[in-house]
Structures are given as structure tokens and as C-alpha cells.
């Protein structure tokens, strides 16, 4: 599903964010990526969605070599990868449902399709009773669930979550992780970047540890090492 081959990313000649990263993630896997602050985890996420270009090596997503992807092809890639972040990136002046619908609108979906898919993904994240609320009217956990719903509208094969629980208390955080596990069960490959030791240890899934832009450990059933 995802393959990194000797990937190198420099922000400037002395800032090496990723150094010789080799990685293979199979379809349907649930992988946690851990590591200290500033070690290149977010950079890895950004190279996967072609937000940052790499300076060496190759990245292949679903058989598609995106190393030298054209500008016009980036949107096609993004529709195959759902992404969520620590700051939920919702539009404050739109309702929760509108926020989800927006992702379909800007991709040219028809009204009928939007009216089916948007409520459907909101049901998946258990928010069907709060469709007309605004982001400031719901909790952080609920906002993150809206972001997840939005990430699902294109039925992505991969879901990238960059510290999705960073702003949440442990109850809300656990809810989000359970949701990610549920989505993974439906067949979506999930990549979770996190700092949360408890979560990683509870998951008992594959854990990749990054240090200074390099993979220092890759365990099939891992524990938080640091």
C-alpha cells in the first residue's frame, strides 16, 4: 500500500527532516508512528500527501510512484488519503454537516451525492444528532470526529492521523482511537502519529519509532519505547 525507499527530506542544507527512511505498510494495517518532537513525523505525513517534495528516494502509494507527481495530480492523490490533524481544521462559520459537505462540494460532487454521503459519514462517527451545530458548540473530541467524517467522504484507502488526540483529554482520546480502530476494521489502512504512551501500549499493533529523521525501531506488536 505504502512504500518509502531511501527517502530523504531536507528543509535546508543543515535541517535533515527525513534521512534514509525505508518503510513498507501493507493494506489494512494499523501503524503507529512515535518519536520525540522535531524528529520528522509530520514531515513524513506531508511527504505522503505530496505537501512536501522529497530530496531523495522514492515514495509509492497504492502502486503509484508519487515521487515526481505532477501538480495537477496532487488532488487525485489527496482524495485517496484522508488526513486529520491535532487542530481539527474545521471552518468555524459552517455547521458540522456543512463542514463535511464542503469537502464534497469543492471536489465537484453533485447535490444528490452530497446529501447521501455527508449524513452517512456523520453516522459513522456517531454525530448524526448534531449535524446543525457549529464547531464551537461541540467538544474537542466531537470536532475531531467531524474531521474524521470529512476525511472519509472520498472513501479513502488510507487514513493519516497526525496527533489526532493531542488536544484531547484521555476519555475523548480513547473514543477517537476506538473510532480509528473501527475504520481500520472496515479495511482502511490507518497511520497514527502520536505522543501518547498509553494509547500505543494499549493498541498492541505495529509501532515505528523515529529518531532524528531515521527509523530506529519497527515492531510488529510494539510498545512505546522512549
Amino acid at each position: 500500500m505504502i512504500r518509502f525507499v531511501n527517502v530523504k527530506k531536507l528543509y535546508s542544507h543543515d535541517v535533515v527532516a527525513l534521512n534514509n527512511v525505508n518503510l513498507h505498510i501493507k493494506p489494512g494495517e494499523f501503524v503507529s508512528i512515535v518519536g520525540q518532537s522535531g524528529t520528522g513525523k509530520t514531515t513524513l505525513v506531508k511527504t505522503l500527501i505530496s505537501e512536501e517534495k522529497i530530496d531523495g528516494g522514492r515514495i509509492v502509494v497504492g502502486g503509484w510512484d508519487i515521487t515526481r507527481i505532477k501538480r495537477s495530480e496532487v488532488p487525485v492523490l489527496r482524495r485517496q488519503i484522508g488526513v486529520i490533524f491535532q487542530d481539527f481544521k474545521l471552518l468555524p462559520k459552517k455547521t458540522l454537516l456543512e463542514n463535511v459537505a464542503f469537502a464534497l462540494q469543492v471536489c465537484g460532487s453533485g447535490r444528490k451525492k452530497i446529501n447521501t454521503i455527508a449524513p452517512h459519514v456523520m453516522r459513522i462517527v456517531n454525530l448524526e444528532d448534531k449535524l446543525a451545530r457549529y464547531p464551537f458548540e461541540v467538544s474537542g473530541g466531537e470536532q475531531q470526529r467531524v474531521a474524521i467524517a470529512r476525511a472519509l467522504v472520498h472513501r479513502p484507502k488510507i487514513l493519516l492521523a497526525d496527533e489526532p488526540t493531542g488536544n484531547l483529554d484521555s476519555i475523548n482520546a480513547n473514543e477517537i482511537i476506538d473510532l480509528l480502530l473501527r475504520i481500520n476494521k472496515f479495511g482502511t489502512t490507518v497511520i497514527l502519529v502520536t505522543h501518547n504512551r498509553e494509547i500505543v501500549n494499549r493498541l498492541r499493533r505495529r509501532v515505528i519509532t523515529i529518531e532524528n529523521g531515521q527509523i530506529v525501531s519497527d515492531q510488529a506488536v510494539g510498545k512505546y519505547l522512549l
Partner: protein, 304 residues
């Protein structure tokens, strides 16, 4: 899908214009000022051209004849002149006609009329007015007339028209140059202001644009609302400039007529006749400036 996206882009653009109404107004006002200065420059150019061609049209050379020349002699000379190359036609102003025109011109000046009466005879000489084929042949014609030997000729008045027209030409050229400079300055200011407003607009939209990029909106769809906004700004400012400038010309016209008595300079008519060419050009220019500014701002500030 394409049609839906187009409609949505229009909707986004209109929403954006209304939500940032003050920013939109600033852009429109700057555009109007720029278009006004460009029209002003164009007007000066039209007036200059009309004046020069009117003056050229009026150019002729006068031969003042001896007072005692007979009618037959004069007509014979007139025939001779007509056969010269470069001559378009020859007008004969007899003594009587000249006197009538003179009294007519000075009818309000009692002193001159009294002086004429006291003279008891017509002091004016008969005149032949020769029109050249074209303005360019006036030099050759003057030379030929200088060489012409006839006892009838009292004096020749070959004013230096060429020099005069060269002066008018150079003045209009200078005015056009200054106008061009002013328009260029305005164009640069417009581009900067539009560029910066769009920068602000993209900045206020950076969240939305970032989300659009994240969820896989195509680049052209993200750009399209800005293109539409550019078209709308251009259209609105064009509508305003048409109204404002026609009003301006209507107010200006009586002064122009008073200033250029005897010349046929009608700017309103000129603008009406060339309405499409003049304003279509301005629309395209205004829209292009807007769109290019917004797209390059997007490229710099949102990496698309």
C-alpha cells in the same frame, strides 16, 4: 460536474465579495480611478488628433492681388494656378466680397466702420486663396507660387504652417507621453493594490484554501472564484466608468465647443461611435490585471 463546479465557483466568488465588501469597494474604486486616467489620456489624444487634422484641413495660401487688377486678368490667373500640380482648388475673393466679410467681422467696432466710411473707397485687395492637394505638398506649392511671375501679384502670404503643425504635433506627443506615464503609474498602483488586496483575501481564506487542498479540490477550482471575482470587479468598475465618463464628457462638451470654435470636435459622438472598442479594451485590461494579480498572489501565498 464541470457545470456544478462553475456555479459553485461563482457562488464562492459572490459570497467572498459581499463578505469583504470594503476590500471589494477599495479594489473597485482604484480600478475606476485608473480607468478614468486612461480615458482622460485617450481624450487628450483624440482632441489633439482632431485639432491637427482640422488645422491641416484649413490650411491654404493667399495671393493678394493689385487693387486695380481687372476681373478678366484675375480669372485668367486663377485658371493658370488651377493647372499647377498640388493645387486642389482656387477661390477668388473679390474686393467687394472681402469688404463685406470685413465689415461683417467688425460690425461691432464702430471706429473701424467709421474709418471705412471715411475712406470712401474699398481699401481691400482682391485675393486668390489656394488650397493644396494635401498638407504635405504645401512646401512644394509655396515654392511654385514664389516662382510664379505675374504683374497682378501684390504680395504673397505663406505663413509657416509646417512649423506650426510640428509644434502642435510635438505638444500632443508630449501630453500623450505625460499621460502614458500617468497611466503607467496608475497601472502599477492598481496592480499593487489589487495584488495586496488579493493577498489579504487569500490570507483570510487560507484556512479554507488549506482545507480545500487537503480534501483534494483541484487547483483550478480553488483559483476559479478569484478569476470570477476579477471579472466581476472589472465589470462593475467598467459600468461605473461608462456612467462617470459620459457624464464628464457631457459637462466638458460645451467648454470644448467654446474653446475650439469652428472645429468639429465632438467627444461624446466619438465615444458613442467607438463605444465597443474603447470599453471592451478597458474591460479586458482591467480583468487581466485583476486575474493575473490574484493568481500570482495565490501562487505565492497558497502554493497553488
Amino acid at each position: 460536474m464541470l457545470f456544478i463546479s462553475l456555479l459553485r465557483a461563482v457562488k464562492f466568488s459572490l459570497q467572498d465579495i459581499i463578505r469583504n465588501i470594503w476590500l471589494s469597494l477599495v479594489i473597485i474604486i482604484i480600478l475606476i480611478l485608473a480607468l478614468f486616467s486612461i480615458n482622460l489620456l485617450y481624450t487628450v489624444k483624440v482632441i489633439g488628433q482632431a485639432t491637427v487634422s482640422a488645422v491641416k484641413e484649413k490650411i491654404d495660401v493667399s495671393l493678394f492681388l493689385k487693387n486695380d487688377a481687372t476681373e478678366e486678368e484675375i480669372l485668367a490667373l486663377s485658371q493658370r494656378l488651377k493647372s499647377l500640380p498640388d493645387v486642389k482648388n482656387v477661390d477668388y475673393i473679390s474686393k467687394d466680397k472681402a469688404l463685406a466679410a470685413f465689415t461683417d467681422k467688425h460690425q461691432d467696432n464702430q471706429e473701424i466702420i467709421d474709418a471705412l466710411k471715411q475712406l470712401k473707397r474699398n481699401p481691400l485687395s482682391p485675393t486668390l486663396i489656394i488650397k493644396p492637394n494635401s498638407f504635405e505638398s504645401i512646401d512644394d506649392l509655396s515654392k511654385r507660387l514664389d516662382a510664379l511671375d505675374s504683374p497682378l501679384i501684390e504680395s504673397r502670404n505663406f505663413a509657416n504652417y509646417k512649423l506650426m503643425l510640428q509644434k502642435i504635433d510635438s505638444i500632443t506627443a508630449k501630453v500623450a507621453e505625460a499621460g502614458l506615464l500617468i497611466s503607467l503609474i496608475f497601472a502599477v498602483i492598481t496592480i499593487l493594490v489589487v495584488y495586496n488586496s488579493v493577498r489579504v483575501a487569500t490570507y483570510t481564506h487560507r484556512r479554507e484554501i488549506a482545507i480545500m487542498r487537503l480534501v483534494g479540490a483541484s487547483n483550478w477550482f480553488i483559483k476559479l472564484p478569484f478569476v470570477f471575482s476579477g471579472l466581476i470587479y472589472a465589470l462593475v468598475s467598467l459600468g461605473a466608468i461608462v456612467a462617470v465618463y459620459f457624464l464628464f464628457l457631457t459637462v466638458l462638451q460645451p467648454y470644448l465647443e467654446a474653446f475650439f470654435v469652428g472645429y468639429n470636435i465632438n467627444l461624446l459622438e466619438h465615444y458613442r461611435e467607438n463605444f465597443f472598442t474603447i470599453f471592451a479594451t478597458q474591460f479586458v485590461a482591467a480583468a487581466l490585471v485583476n486575474i493575473i494579480a490574484s493568481l500570482s498572489a495565490l501562487r505565492v501565498y497558497s502554493k497553488i
